[in-house]
Symmetry: C2
Subunit: 406 residues, 2 copies
């Protein structure tokens, strides 16, 4: 690749200490040496963000979200300055920017802000002057002039949004693994790195626990920015995510994923009237709670059960909102279960093949794994099982669909 | 004090850890409880700034000043957010701001920026809404939209400038000592806390090593903002610095100070022509090097020696500039001496009393301390001596002028 504009994102493990930062500097310079322009997005060093959060919680167990953003945004700023210094040391020109400084404008939802637009004039000027630009990931400035952060993993989003705004040829996401695998290699020993994925497949895998931020993939898809998810510690090609299907392997199921981060809420005996589900999910969305799987079965005796999953971090808030609403609309019982895992299989080929769902369910049955919830999309099937059976379920599906074979 | 607008500045030792931050929060709330409005300026926690500098130097021994500002400004931002959270925890309203966010506009001299103006509209709005406002010290935003820092001790300057802009009744500078002493109590055992000082006296003492930033005192004097320098760890009154002489004690000499931070440069056999000194100090000022004492004696054989002191941190740069210039204007030799200390006595009363200088020099002579350079102003006398004799010189002057007596 030469003569292109490339956006590279380096995660916390890639800049964990000064030696890592020097390695990253050398890698960036190699790209510039080939005639490319490079814009870099960096995360906070290693555990910096966790350390800041721990310090905050020690002072105030329930800190204001505005102040959390003020606090956490410092981590990325430190990385950008140190990386610029490391590049200078190697004789190249570089300049660092905070998110607010560069004009990453967001809405006003602290700790979970959405990017509205990116002002690129300053960045373009510096790139045209031959400088490597380094932008603090994960952060922006709200329409109220407040410092905001984009939520966990938000640096991926910063990178993709920057790539879209600058019209970059590709967005490289550097991480501590070699790419996206057919399943988590720590759980499934013969899991295989996937060379190419479509945006939709990546989106499903990201949502189901693969190492990538869903919102980042959505933006990449929307603006058709190819992603290259790869290791910061090797030169091996990683996983390329792009729109066109021509380079896509023809397997039906492309990957399997497991997540233990969700909890299940069930509203029991919901009156079977139009608009109830809408009210529930409107209230949750209004509180910035992302609901993932939603399952509602046929009603009997004019009432039905409505189940959905949310991130465990959001469970107590979601439960509070659900119970309040339940009282108002006559729902008798609201149950919560944190002891769940979700296994999923993903693949664009899936939609045109019959029997994938059946094969999936019978693989779990063969392994005596009971399914608690099922949800399907055109390119994925997800099953909620008891948490302790999650890993076995992932292994069973990986084997059933022969994902270890290329 | 009640019903006033007070600016309080807490230094790094006052916010060194989460427990310290909680103490500071309690102190601030006490003032608010008495009906005052409080704007707070904080430094970085404990050794944060030093740690950041160490990390930078590990990556690049000669880091860019712009990137140093980017890096160092994070320290104060962390303190502001944590302090806001601590105040929230105690049930009061508070909001934190970075220097750039609040509109502390500076010139473009990175690591030593000068404040040009402070936009107070946002701060005033929040104060009027009953909030405690917390501003990151030491930092601002340049007219080029770059993050700048104000140099070591710059948080004092931020606080005084903020007090001036907001029209505060007083600016309290919290530190780890009880106030300004007649001499450093670690060196002179019977040194005594001074209750009141004039701005001019404080200025001289600050310049001569007392725990206060000179530029901050200059701004306080210019805008006539009373300062109260006091301990963050006790409720005792500290030292009040103000314009009016009415409350000033009548002693001739008010305090003595010692600094070992300076080095001496001597240009030997400088041609005795008009304009040479101007060229030397114009070049040094252009490189943002502060020259302190300047001594030039009568010439003999159409040439003279010109000596001056600079901060040790600036010595290598100052020497480079001096040597370059020396070559151009025919100065034969440029000498440097880092092994010096400067002792000073300060007092507004001094100017109207005869014999103070003589008493000073004879006190040093009695103790067999040789004087290498002498410089006097209306309210101070400074002598440069060998570094190893500095403490003895301070003690001798403190005793001679009976500063231990009230």
């Amino acid at each position: 690749m030469a003569g292109q504009l490339i956006v590279q994102k380096y995660g916390g493990s890639s800049v964990a200490n000064t030696a890592c930062i020097e390695n990253v500097a050398a890698r960036i310079i190699k790209y510039v040496g080939k005639g490319n322009k490079v814009a870099v997005v960096v995360s906070a060093m290693g555990d910096t963000t966790d350390d800041l959060i721990a310090m905050a919680k020690k002072i105030n167990p329930n800190p204001s979200e505005r102040e959390m953003d003020m606090l956490m945004s410092t981590g990325e700023q430190i990385s950008t300055a140190l990386l610029a210094m490391a590049i200078h040391k190697k004789g190249c020109e570089a300049i660092s920017f905070t998110g607010p400084q560069v004009g990453i404008i967001t809405d006003t939802s602290h700790t979970k802000a959405k990017i509205l637009k990116i002002k690129t004039n300053r960045l373009k000027k510096e790139l045209d002057n031959g400088k490597i630009v380094i932008v603090a990931g994960f952060q922006g400035i709200s329409t109220n002039d407040e410092i905001t952060t984009l939520g966990r993993g938000g640096s991926d989003l910063s990178a993709v949004a920057l790539a879209a705004s600058l019209g970059a040829a590709i967005c490289e996401i550097y991480t501590d693994v070699e790419g996206i695998f057919t399943a988590d290699p720590r759980v499934v020993a013969d899991a295989r790195k996937i060379d190419y994925l479509t945006f939709d497949e990546m989106l499903e895998l990201a949502a189901r626990g693969a190492k990538m931020h869903t919102r980042a993939v959505e933006v990449a898809k929307k603006f058709n920015i190819p992603l290259h998810i790869r290791s910061a510690f090797s030169d091996k090609e990683g996983t390329i995510v792009m729109d066109k299907g021509e380079r896509i392997e023809e397997a039906v199921v492309r990957g399997a994923a497991l997540t233990e981060k969700e909890a299940k809420i069930t509203l029991c005996n919901v009156p079977d009237e139009p608009g109830i589900a809408a009210r529930v999910f409107t209230e949750l969305a209004g509180s910035n709670i992302n609901v993932d799987m939603i399952v509602q079965n046929v009603s009997h005796k004019n009432s039905t059960d409505l189940s959905f999953t949310v991130l465990k971090d959001d469970l107590s808030r979601a439960l509070k909102i659900s119970r309040k609403l339940a009282g108002r609309i006559g729902i008798k019982e609201v149950l919560a279960d944190e002891n769940i895992a979700r296994v999923s299989i993903v693949g664009v080929g899936m939609k045109s093949h019959h029997g994938v769902a059946a094969k999936c369910f019978s693989a779990l049955a063969k392994n005596k794994i009971n399914i608690e919830m099922i949800s399907t999309s055109e390119i994925s099937i997800s099953c909620v099982v008891k948490k302790e059976l999650g890993k076995a379920a992932l292994a069973a599906l990986h084997k059933e669909f022969e994902l270890q074979k290329k």
